[in-house]
Symmetry: C2
Subunit: 166 residues, 2 copies
DNA sequence: GTCGGGCTACTCGGATATTGGCTGTCCGAGTCTGACTGG
DNA sequence: CCAGTCAGACTCGGACAGCCAATATCCGAGTAGCCCGAC
């Protein structure tokens, strides 16, 4: 039970994409460099976000990545599910149907109570992430800025030429 | 993000141990056979439960496993955490402190808002599992019995000699 | 008949291979930019 | 001066290795029951 490292990358990346002006884009390589991540593997995470329809990729020389929709319409759960392989954190293997004392499978129409409980727990954490939009993360991040980071970021964006389509 | 298969085994095993009379015990091998699980690896899961203090192992010829305490005093969360390696499902790697625009580490005393949200989600599913005791699973299982399973189990327990210390 | 000792069989526990999936890397296809050339 | 064309470089996307942890297995240490013999 451990979220993939790419989930953290994806959320940070989406947060960064939500911060830049409308219509602009940043190449995946620059986005990785900004976060101090190896670009090769980071690109794979971005591909998943593109496949999920959260991020749009612009090809070509001045291409890059941007969000497909408004940050307030993207929940954190979307990002997590896009990057995680297994959609549910518990998978019932129906071991109650195994062993010498099990009945015929036709008697097991209802899910077992263990699976039921686990899915309830599953729904609980999903609910928390589904209720939080990317925009809320933005505002809370802006509310408590780290000294100097915003300035450094602005400077880096312009000097490195990472921001496209301004 | 996927719970280990041993978690499911452990909960089913504890459920079975909660069903047998006070003071009795069942060998791990028999418990595995009853659930149709390969005994070798199942034993490792039981070892973890012993290490966590949930299950007591009786050595010797007529040995076996039994719960250390009343089923109503054991939460499902205890069992899950005993069997899972990673205690939290999200681990913040502090990538905000990496990259060219990061500030000195002394400015990052507070956890980042992403980690904060994730830990909130983490607490949510833990809460569900912490609120449910093993005894509740027992009663709900007894409330909707699968036809013939209880009888077959009783018969198997006596005939195989798995139940010790009656 | 009873008690003690030794043996046996069975249990748990840890040390040891194996496999699957996450991590990491690379190169090719496609496309937009920009310059150059001709009108 | 302007439009069309072409080369170039940069982007994403998917195909290809490496490594760690979960899975699977085995054998040894230890202990409780049971049998046997002596008293």
């Amino acid at each position: 039970m451990q979220l993939s490292e790419t989930v953290e990358w994806g959320i940070h990346a989406c947060l960064a994409l939500a911060m830049i002006p409308e219509g602009t884009r940043i190449p995946a390589k620059a986005l990785a460099e900004y976060h101090g991540i190896k670009p090769s593997y980071f690109a794979k995470a971005m591909q998943k976000l593109v496949a999920a329809g959260i991020v749009k990729s612009i090809e070509g020389r001045a291409g890059g990545l941007r969000l497909t929709k408004c940050a307030s319409d993207i929940s954190v759960l979307e990002i997590v599910l896009a990057l995680e392989e297994s959609k549910t954190f518990f998978q019932c293997r129906e071991i109650r149907q195994q062993g010498p004392c099990a009945a015929k499978s036709k008697y097991y129409s209802k899910p077992c109570n263990i699976a039921h409980l686990m899915h309830k727990a599953d729904a609980a954490w999903r609910h928390v992430l589904a209720q939080t939009s990317l925009n809320e993360l933005c505002t809370s991040a802006r509310a408590e800025p780290i000294p100097g980071v915003n300035e450094a970021t602005q400077k880096w964006l312009t000097e490195s030429g990472a921001l496209r389509g301004l």
